[in-house]
């Protein structure tokens, strides 16, 4: 981290994967290499600020394995000025990046526990660093059973679809895919995640739930989990807020006395309960 937290570094786009092509959900994953062979050390849950010079800057979560940081991957949904500009870039183009920022998922605290991942839409992207970190051979034995409930509106809205087959081969991993409405030739589940989560069986004594997705999904799923008896401090999620600086100085992401950019973005439901409802 350089001494000027506002100064981005130049990176090269080395690969682009078009994840979804829907008019409402256009997501591309960018693989980036920092200039001069530099590497960015980060941990699951953290984020970066990406710049399209002349247009602006926006925050995005890391989407790749922190233990394989020769390149870093970031999934970006096209929504507005900055994301439009980034979506128009091609392999070989440069992009500017600063970070890593924010707190991390408690990778040590999760050791020894079973984990229930629940992701909606693009919400899988910020969970992927934690998932791939746990699935690393050197780490897998430290964690218990992993269940994943991945939701998307339609079959073509899933991101990182290419990973699922690999993940399913790993010991003690169970993946459930679900879409909102019935379509022909869909062999997996149909229904909202908060309705499916009640069918899942997990040991309340030793399971953490890690959620990410649209706010409405997070609210509905955590409500169900609590009804099932899961304590609030075992339900983890990551918050989104409008951000400028990413380093606790610009005031934009302030909620109560906390700053989502430095005190978050990862919060437990217990922590969120203690915060004003301003997110």
């Amino acid at each position: 981290m350089n001494m000027n937290p506002y100064l981005p570094l130049k990176a090269e786009i080395v690969d682009i994967v078009q994840e979804t092509t829907d008019s409402e959900l256009d997501v591309k994953t960018y693989a980036l290499k920092l200039g001069g062979g530099a590497k960015m050390e980060f941990m699951p849950g953290q984020f970066v600020e990406l710049s399209a010079p002349g247009v602006g800057e926006a925050p995005f979560g890391f989407a790749s394995n922190p233990l394989r940081n020769d390149t870093i991957e970031i999934s970006i949904k096209r929504t507005g000025m900055v994301t439009d500009a980034i979506h128009s870039l091609e392999i070989g183009d440069s992009i500017f990046i600063r970070g890593p920022f924010g707190n991390t998922f408690p990778v040590k605290g999760l050791e020894g526990s079973d984990i229930l991942f629940i992701a909606g839409g693009l919400g899988l992207a910020p969970l992927r660093p934690l998932i791939t970190y746990i699935f690393e051979e050197e780490n897998r034995a430290k964690y218990g059973k992993i269940q994943m409930l991945i939701a998307a509106r339609t079959p073509t809205d899933f991101i990182f679809f290419r990973d699922y087959a690999e993940w399913r081969k790993i010991k003690d991993v169970e993946i459930t895919l679900t879409i909102d409405n019935e379509v022909p030739n869909w062999a997996e589940r149909v229904g909202f995640p908060h309705n499916l989560v009640t069918e899942m069986s997990f040991d309340l004594e030793k399971t953490y739930a890690v959620l990410c997705g649209p706010p409405i999904m997070i609210k509905a799923v955590s409500q169900k989990l609590m009804e099932m008896g899961m304590p609030q401090d075992r339900i983890l999620t990551t918050l989104e807020m409008r951000m400028t600086c990413g380093v606790g100085n610009c005031g934009k992401c302030n909620i109560g006395h906390q700053y989502v950019c430095v005190d978050g973005p990862v919060f437990s439901l217990a922590e969120l309960e203690g915060m004003p409802d301003e997110y």
């Binding site: 000027n4 937290p5 929504t79 100085n249 934009k252 302030n254 006395h257 301003e278």
Partner: protein, 327 residues
Amino acid sequence: MSEAAIKLTKGELEKMLAALMRDRTVFAPGSTGAKLEYLPVDDVSDIVFGDELPYKSPKDVFFPRCEKIVTFSENGAEAELPETQTVLFGARPCDLEALDMLKTILTQGKFKDPFFAARYENALIIGLACAEKKPGCFCDQRETDLDYSEKCDLFLRADGDKFEVLYVSDKGKKALGAHIPGLEQFKNTPREFRPAETLSLDAAEDDLFTKIDWEEITETCQSCGICTYVCPTCHCFMFKDVEEDDKAYRYRNWDSCMFPKFTLHASGHNPRAAKRERYRQRVAHKYVYIKENFGMTACTGCGRCIRSCPAGMSIKTVVEGIREELQ
């Protein structure tokens, strides 16, 4: 050691400031029209002495309302940290208090703001006592003593047609020593600092959200953001990129939590869409959140937001009302 304090005539003070102008940029109370503000001056005759409080705070000497922070070119991204040596002359005790708070917030948190830090470290700050409280000021109820502050390098107090000078820091002593031979012979006893601090809030965050009728409080607020622009402790900012020739520049501009778009997400969701929520943010941030994080209340009682508000809002009255409601 003599019992006499150091005293400068106005002429001697002007001479000292003129000498400082040779290799530093001097910011001092000046006027471009009807109102007084802190302006860069290159002629001492442009400095307005007297007891009037400039309508804007001197925060932009260290945190300009618009500054270039990144230059993007073929070679990458570069930043030029400010190297200008400045003098801030005539900052009042309330503003010295505020600058010290900004220093804490922007340089002692998790990430240091290198632009603010560079300017602050390179500055000579000359404070000036207020002879009297102005309409709207309530520094006597906050942690400010209108007669003295040690949060500067030199501190002046008008005394008849002279200025009594105290040196507070080594930097100040050196600067003063260059003009007053035999500095050591004079008395340099800082006056006792007498903050009253009777107007503070010990409210729980939750109570501010559930027990206060912000809708009623903010009925007349226009969301214009003037209160935040004139405030010496407000420090929210945003970035704005511009393209020129084959380069792109990123500027940092003051932003305001009073603006509806301040928290607007790209999805259209807005956590503080209503002005009652935004005004609550301004009050709670100053009186509760910063206190939780840094142990101080980020309102000096300078009264600027009260005097400049087109809608007649008063943070003093609002805080007093909350105290009545909750305490």
